[in-house]
Symmetry: C2
Subunit: 201 residues, 2 copies
């Protein structure tokens, strides 16, 4: 393996330190009180180092979350929804992984801070949706469209709406903390959404 | 009709002015920057008038939201989910009304401010759920349990989980602003949840 130049390794170390500092700060202090200065101080880098790579606080935080998402995808295997041919098993697998990720304390505080800010700040919310959320939702669109082609989803069902029957309930429990997020809950949501609440004739 | 004593009418006017001021301020400035002093100034009452009735900012805001919810229930007929014997029609009716309420600009800013604070503030979030949200969710529990008794919901389905297939997707769209909240969307959610995404044999 070729040796990386020192400057590349230094840059990568700074980048990592900046992301860690940004996520820690936003989780502790909230979005409004997180500043580029605070991130720089905590990361042990100059403020200009951050401004060289990112134009704003929102930009560095979104990249930090994208990086966290990439790590989660590796840890929880969420890069693509598996297609074993068994839609119910595949959806239970991915919803259980989502439950684990939402319950992971490393993700909880920063993710809540970003979500809360997005609820009241339409501009940040739109960036959050476009860069972080919608790409994840498109994984469901692809899996559900494949299932539809295989005859496992009713013709006429819109996959972009259907996926919300899976992610909506989980997000609702997580954001509003109504009841515990468990694997059993994930399984029930998949069962109810696929087979319907009404009795089958 | 008996004439109300002047002091009762004055109290009711103050109460209304305090609720209006609290909702307006939290919608404009956010939860953190809303203060009892600010509410009192805007409502044109003394700060002691507020402290006589409520122990804290959270308490007056929760009561203001309960009052707003009561007004919405009147405007949108949401006090109870209708039971015409047609579960699908009844659910579409209530979900369309919820869409109208979520799209109502009078509710949007204060409701977002409270929801955002609940996402990052577990204590306020728990009060919000217990006093505002869970009573609304119990309306679904009752309607779905009645439908189950009538044979319109599969035996074994847990109504407290099932309702999240209706409210979760709507809350997801509203909170995260992914796509427009429309009556057609509400209808699709009801259709998919009741009849399932999988083809019926």
């Amino acid at each position: 393996m070729a040796k990386e130049p020192d400057s590349t390794r230094r840059s990568e170390r700074s980048r990592r330190a900046i992301f860690d500092a940004a996520l820690a700060l936003v989780g502790e202090a909230g979005y409004a009180k997180t500043t580029i200065e605070g991130i720089a101080a905590r990361a042990g880098v100059g403020k200009q180092t951050i401004y060289r790579w990112w134009p704003s606080k929102a930009a560095v935080l979104l990249d930090a979350f994208l990086d966290l998402g990439a790590q989660a995808a590796e840890a929880y295997g969420e890069a693509e929804i598996p297609d074993t041919g068994d839609l119910e098993a595949d959806l239970k697998h991915v919803l259980r992984a989502t439950v684990d990720e939402l319950n992971d304390p490393r993700h909880d505080a920063p993710s809540r801070a970003l979500a809360a800010e997005g609820v009241i700040n339409p501009e940040l919310g739109a960036q959050f949706v476009e860069r972080l959320l919608e790409p994840q939702l498109q994984l469901y669109v692809r899996r559900l469209a494949a299932a539809q082609e295989a005859g496992d989803v009713r013709p006429g069902v819109d996959p972009r709406i259907a996926l919300e029957l899976f992610v909506g309930p989980l997000a609702h429990r997580w954001l509003l903390r109504t009841l515990p997020l468990t694997h059993a809950y994930a399984d029930a949501v998949v069962d109810y959404a696929l087979h319907g609440l009404a009795p089958r004739p």
